[in-house]
C-alpha cells in the first residue's frame, strides 16, 4: 500500500481506532479531549468518531462555532441595520437563520430587507462598488481565519476608494477561551484538538502556553476522519506518557509559526478588546475590533441605529453546550421544540453548531 492509498483506506481509520484502544487499554480513568473548531465538531459527528473510540477516551465539543458564540445583541444590531432605508446587508449564509432576540435576517429578508449571501467579503466590496447609492454592510463574524479576510476586504475597499462599504464585526480569538476552559475542574480537560485553519494563521506555537502553564496536550489536527483519529491518538499518547506539548498532525497546512502576513494585516486594522462569548461571558482581550484609524468602516460607529432590548431564548442550553458541559441530547428542546427548520438557539442553526451536527448525524 502506498502513502496515498494509506489515507484513502477505511482500514486505516479502523486501524487507528484499534491503535488508540490498545494504547489506553489497562487505564481506568477517562481522558477528556475538547475540540474547538466547528468543522471538527461536524466531522466527529458525521463520521461517528465517538463510537470508534474506547470508553476511556472522551471527546467533548467546545466553543468552536463563531456564529454560536456571538451573543444575540450582534444579530439584533444586524437586523436593525437591515431595516434602515438605503442599507444592504451582505453575509455568509450561516447567519441568515440565526435567531436574534425577536427576528432573524431570514425573516427580515422575507419582509423586504435587502440581505444578500456572499461567498467572500471581497464580493461585498464589489457589491458596494456596484451600488454606490447604498450602504453595504458585511457581517464580519469569525475567528482568526476569517478576521484577516475582513481586514483584507477593508484594505481593498480603501484602495479602490469604495466609501459605502462597512463591516459589522464580531471577531473573536481562540487561545483565551481555551485557557479559561482548561482551568474548569468540572470539565477536567486533558488536551485539545486544536483548530486547523485558525492555526494556519496563528501558528501552532500559539498554544505553547497551554501546554507549559496548564499541562495540556495540544495537537493541531486536520478535518478528515483519519486526521481526527490520528490527532486523538497523538493526544492519548501524550497523556499515557505523562507528557504535554504542542504537536502538529495537520502539518500539510499548519506551520509552528503560522501565517505572519495574515497576522500583520489583522494587527494593522484590529485591536484586541474584551469580548462577550455566549455561555462563557466576557473574556479579557479575546475579541478584535477595528482600530481608530479604520473606524469609518465600522458599521457600529458609522451607521447609528436603535437596537431592540436583548432577550435570551428561554430553555436553550446553547451556552452550556458551547462550554462542553452538556451535550445537545441533554437539552429538553433538542429535536422537539428546536430543529434546524425552527431553531431556538444559534447552536442549532449554524452549519458548525454542535446541536446542528448532533441533529444531522447524531440521532
Amino acid at each position: 500500500m502506498n502513502y496515498l492509498d494509506a489515507f484513502k483506506s477505511r482500514d486505516v481509520v479502523l486501524g487507528l481506532a484499534e491503535r488508540i484502544r490498545l494504547l489506553v487499554a489497562g487505564r481506568a480513568e477517562p481522558m477528556t479531549f475538547m475540540e474547538v473548531c466547528g468543522t471538527h465538531t461536524m466531522a466527529i459527528y458525521q463520521y461517528g468518531i465517538r463510537s470508534l473510540l474506547p470508553p476511556q477516551v472522551r471527546l467533548i465539543s467546545g466553543p468552536g462555532c463563531p456564529v454560536c458564540v456571538t451573543p444575540n445583541g450582534y444579530l439584533d444590531r444586524a437586523v436593525a441595520l437591515s431595516r434602515l432605508p438605503g442599507v444592504t446587508i451582505a453575509t455568509f449564509g450561516d447567519l441568515l437563520r440565526v435567531p436574534g432576540s425577536s427576528s432573524s435576517l431570514m425573516e427580515e429578508r422575507a419582509r423586504g430587507g435587502d440581505i444578500r449571501v456572499v461567498y467572500s467579503p471581497l464580493d461585498a466590496v464589489a457589491l458596494a462598488a456596484k451600488l454606490p447609492e447604498r450602504k453595504v454592510v458585511f457581517l464580519g463574524v469569525g475567528f482568526e481565519t476569517t478576521a484577516p479576510t475582513i481586514a483584507g476586504s477593508i484594505l481593498t475597499a480603501e484602495k479602490r476608494g469604495v466609501e459605502n462599504y462597512f463591516v459589522l464585526t464580531s471577531h473573536k480569538t481562540m487561545p483565551r477561551p481555551m485557557e479559561l476552559l482548561s482551568a474548569d475542574p468540572e470539565l477536567a480537560i486533558d488536551g485539545y484538538l486544536c483548530p486547523a485553519h485558525v492555526s494556519a494563521v496563528i501558528g501552532a506555537d500559539a498554544y505553547a502556553f497551554l501546554a507549559e502553564r496548564y499541562g495540556l496536550a495540544c495537537v493541531v489536527t486536520g478535518f478528515e476522519p483519519a486526521d481526527v483519529l490520528q490527532g486523538v491518538e497523538m493526544l492519548a499518547r501524550q497523556v499515557m506518557a505523562g507528557e504535554h506539548r504542542v504537536e502538529i498532525q495537520y502539518s500539510r497546512v499548519v506551520k509552528p509559526e503560522g501565517n505572519g502576513r495574515a497576522r500583520e494585516v489583522m494587527a494593522q486594522l484590529f485591536e484586541p478588546y474584551d469580548a462577550d462569548w455566549r455561555g462563557i461571558g466576557v473574556i479579557p482581550g479575546s475579541g478584535l475590533r477595528l482600530s481608530e484609524r479604520y473606524a469609518r468602516f465600522d458599521a457600529a460607529c458609522a451607521i447609528p441605529v436603535d437596537v431592540e432590548e436583548l432577550r435570551e431564548h428561554a430553555g436553550c442550553r446553547c451556552g452550556e453546550v458551547l462550554k462542553g458541559k452538556v451535550s445537545p441530547f441533554d437539552c429538553p428542546l433538542f429535536a422537539t421544540a428546536c430543529s434546524p427548520e425552527a431553531p431556538v438557539g444559534a447552536c442549532m442553526v449554524s452549519s458548525e453548531g454542535t446541536c446542528a451536527a448532533a441533529y444531522k448525524y447524531g440521532r
Binding site: 494556519a200 478528515e224 497546512v253 495574515a262
Partner: protein, 76 residues
C-alpha cells in the same frame, strides 16, 4: 465553516489569482500570503483569500483523502 480542499492556482494577475479543483473555479486573493505563489501551486482558500500554500505532495495526499469520503453507514 472551513473547507480543507487544496485548490490549484491556474492564473495570477497581481494579487488576484484564480484557483481550481475538480472543475470548480474560485477567485483567491493572494494579499494574505507572504510567500510567493506561482501558477500550478496549491493553496487553501478561505472566504476568497488564500491563507496557506501547500507542497504538491501534501496537496495530493489531502485530495486523495477528501475524494474518498466515508459515509456514516460505512463507518458503522
Amino acid at each position: 465553516m472551513c473547507v480543507g480542499v487544496p485548490m490549484q492556482v491556474v492564473s495570477i494577475d497581481g494579487d488576484e489569482a484564480v484557483a481550481e479543483i475538480d472543475g470548480v473555479r474560485r477567485e483567491a486573493s493572494l494579499m494574505l500570503l507572504a510567500e510567493p505563489v506561482a501558477v500550478g501551486d496549491y493553496v487553501i482558500v478561505h472566504a476568497g483569500f488564500a491563507i496557506s500554500r501547500l507542497d504538491e505532495a501534501d496537496a495530493q495526499e489531502t485530495l486523495a483523502m477528501m475524494r474518498e469520503v466515508f459515509s456514516p453507514e460505512e463507518m458503522g
